[in-house]
Amino acid sequence: MKTLWSKSIALILITSLVTGCASKALLEEEMHFPAEANQPFLTLEKVLRGGSTEHDGLFPRVKTMLFGARTVDMLMRPVALALDGDGRFYVADADAGKVLVFQMQGDRYDHIASFGGQELQAPAGIVVWNDEILVSDGVAGTICRFSKTYEYLDVLEVRDVRRPGQLKVNPVNNELFIVDTPNHHVVSINTEGQVTGKLVHKRTGDQLLGSPMAVDFSADGHIIVLDGLSRRVEVFNSDYTYETGFGGYDRVPGSFSNPKGLAISSDGYIFISDAAFGNVQIFDQNGALLYFFGEIGKAKGEFLLPGSLTFDAKDQLYIMDQFNSRVQIFRYRAQGE
């Protein structure tokens, strides 16, 4: 009888191992852009839906068999992501009404915690600033402060901000930039909470930015703003003076239709996600189209209303594929200037 049990357990383990290897092979079929290029610009590394990223191995499978799957949160509509530099990153989920915390361990991304469920209604932006996690709330119109241990602290009061959206920290002076779409401007504050400046559209007189959606900073000190309804990218100098811009409203490559996300790679190129195109276009700072990838859809490498974009220090690009309820993570190979 004992022998029979041993054989049964061995059979189960071997079966698990075999099926595990099969699914792993499928999962690791890499996706590149361009697909046929010898040295693709981008490679899809992970598709994050919540919980743990797809990974395999004998131990986790046996552990799951013995103890059951761990209860984890799944992403519903990820809208923003922030990294804290120690392998941990935070995904603001507008429909879940909270923030999901993930820990990168090797090639795994494990959901380790969630927070803000009580305090947040519809997170819109998130950033790590001064050892705190700040989350903007698109419904409440507030910025909530949380400690690094996920404890709610209070609301960050910012003058002249009506409804904070995306949050971004300028690495040059550690100022926090707050995108305030309904007020048509981007406000920056220092660590004391004082407003240090506002980005408005000076290209034609006093005209304000139409609907700023996102902001990022280039290595040479430029502040770059995506103006969604104007379908333009506006480039500002570090002293907030307007320098230049580019864009156009159309449905052809090089134009914008419903641009939502902006991020700048380590080599200074501007990545713009477009919800209508379901793709990401790459421009240089003069507005020349360099490349685009993705299309509308639900398969890997496709997007449904892609939103915010974030680069980490290793040039990994996190794309909030919000209406596919996932984050797609690409490895970008810097092309240089």
Partner: protein
């Protein structure tokens, strides 16, 4: 012939222009809505028709520019992006994917427009019964699906309806909303007063006579006006299915809590919230994070552990009514599914017990439930008349309002012990959710079984009507009713006799009560040391 063709062309052309004119007239109304992001009404002429079409560009993507060839990789030259690409999604995909909804959601995802569709309305929407620290499942899933055959309560809008469907009969934002016209408010294609828009597709049985759809009490007219939206979040659903605005129990008790709803000022019907705080309840609280009463431990070994219970197990909120009460079924339980006395499921119950049998009968889909229903079978030797009139033609102790032909309901015995509180078998301070005291111990005063004497005249029972030794057993020996009787029925014995009590033992291996004629027969048993060897009564 040529003249005929000319007139045909003229008619068609005129029709086209008329159609185009009507179309422009409707679309020009956008100038007076929040969707006019240009912000000036100068976009329309004196005839109120659009003359400046700039504002159209907010949503309608132009196609004038020439494609730019990307500098990095020119093998994938694309002339135009397919912004109308169709995406086929799984049935339970959380969000819409049709091209019209996609263009709406560019703004209405919380970026340009405040909040995801109507999410801001969820603030303080319902009284939360969840304990602090517990997290409700948040907003998800939109009101998007394709109409399917076989759903008796949902149908596609008729051809003359103001509502419009997308390809493959799918719903999109534009089904209910006309982004150019805000005359009805919320850009609706038609007025939704009294949920008139909702019922274009949703045909709920008895809605027009229901307490929620058409309350007779004028205090509750607001419920009619708000209609479906009172309980349902049209776009998103937090914790539950069916687009409910919150977890089902929370939704129901937010009004039926004996007070006024904070937001909608709708007077409540009954204080069920307090009833469900009682020690003996139907365990709806298991569906929330509320603590289960200790008295409910028994359920953890039985049916409750398998499925729990929700309000809609016993009530159809679209049909429940105070206008069509029947003798065997209260209006609050009409149009509810159930299980009949043979264990077959029924889409709509005819008798109250069929609702109870969902859990307490021969419901094959419910595991481990106690089949109380088997004790009411009319093939039994005796039973309380739930399914059919009783077997005993002479029940001399019955009160005047009852007869041997009467039927009773489960709720004649089970319900709130507070006669002034919310009625129904929701909860009670007494075990088994009984309305009145029922002594389960062998010895008790008759007053401790007052439940029985709601139908049976106590004096007649004690004095021996029906069974001449009642006086001896009750008054002199002090036995309770439950010492000898099962309140539901008896498969083998007459008079609801229950011989399963540990103090009742066989005599010479025989345990029997027989009836030779009404009120007379023999007993063969030993009870508390007293031997009845085939004793005639």
């Amino acid at each position: 012939m040529r003249l005929k063709h000319f007139f045909m062309i003229l008619v068609v052309t005129t029709g086209c222009f008329a159609q185009a004119g009507a179309d422009l007239e409707n679309k020009s109304k956008i100038a007076f809505t929040p969707h006019n992001l240009v912000g000036t009404r100068a976009v329309v002429g004196e005839d109120s028709l659009l003359q400046d079409f700039t504002l159209c560009r907010v949503c309608h993507i132009p196609s004038k520019m020439t494609a730019v060839e990307p500098l990095w990789y020119r093998k994938e030259f694309v002339r135009v992006f397919d912004v109308d690409k169709h995406v086929e999604l799984e049935k339970h995909h959380l969000f819409p994917a049709d091209n019209i909804s996609r263009s709406c959601l560019f703004c209405h995802d919380g970026s340009v427009s405040r909040g995801f569709p109507h999410k801001e309305e969820l603030k303080d929407r319902q009284v939360s019964l969840l304990e602090a620290g517990s997290e409700s499942v948040p907003n998800l899933h939109l009101h998007l699906f394709a109409f399917e055959n076989g759903d008796t309560e949902t149908r596609a809008p008729s051809e003359d309806s103001e509502l419009r469907l997308e390809e493959n009969s799918r719903i999109s934002c534009a089904t209910c909303h006309d982004p150019h016209n805000n005359e009805q408010g919320s850009f609706l294609r038609m007025s939704n007063e009294g949920s008139s828009l909702c019922v274009e597709c949703h045909q709920m049985a008895n809605w027009e006579l229901s307490a929620h759809g058409n309350p007779a009490d004028p205090r509750f007219r607001d419920v009619k006006n708000l209609g479906c939206a009172h309980c349902h979040d049209i776009h998103g659903v937090p914790a539950s299915t069916n687009l409910l605005a919150a977890e089902e129990t929370t939704v129901c008790l937010s009004c039926h809590d004996g007070s006024k709803d904070d937001m909608d000022e709708v007077a409540s019907n009954a204080d069920l919230e307090n009833v469900f705080e009682k020690p003996f309840i139907h365990p709806i609280s298991w569906n929330s994070s509320r603590e289960m009463p200790e008295s409910m431990d028994a359920w953890s070994r039985g049916l409750g552990a398998e499925r729990g219970v929700t309000c809609s197990d016993c009530h159809n909120p679209h049909a429940a009514s105070d206008q069509n009460n029947g003798p065997f079924l209260d209006g609050s339980q009409v149009f509810v599914s159930g299980v009949d006395n043979e264990g077959f499921t029924k889409a709509i119950v005819d008798y109250e017990y069929e609702t109870c049998y969902k859990c307490h009968g021969m419901n094959q889909s419910a595991m481990f439930g106690r089949n109380v229903g088997q004790l009411f079978a009319k093939t039994n030797m005796s039973f309380h008349p739930i399914e059919a009139p009783g077997n005993n033609p002479y029940v001399q102790s019955l009160k005047i309002e009852w007869s041997e032909q009467s039927l009773i309901k489960c709720t004649d015995c089970h319900g709130n012990d507070d006669p002034l509180g919310a009625q129904g078998p929701h909860g009670s301070d007494l075990p088994h959710i009984l309305k009145q005291a029922y002594a389960e111990q062998p010895f008790a005063q008759p007053e401790e079984s007052e439940l029985c004497f709601q139908c049976h005249v106590q004096g007649r029972v004690v004095q021996g009507s029906g069974f001449k030794y009642h006086k001896l057993h009750i008054e002199e020996a002090g036995y309770a009713c439950s010492a000898c009787h099962n309140p539901h029925g008896s498969v083998e014995y007459p008079g609801l006799m229950d011989l399963n009590a540990p103090f009742i033992q066989p005599v010479n291996g025989i345990l029997e009560v027989s009836q030779t004629e009404p009120g007379h027969g023999t007993c063969t048993l030993m009870c508390h040391g007293k031997v009845h060897p085939g004793q005639y009564y």
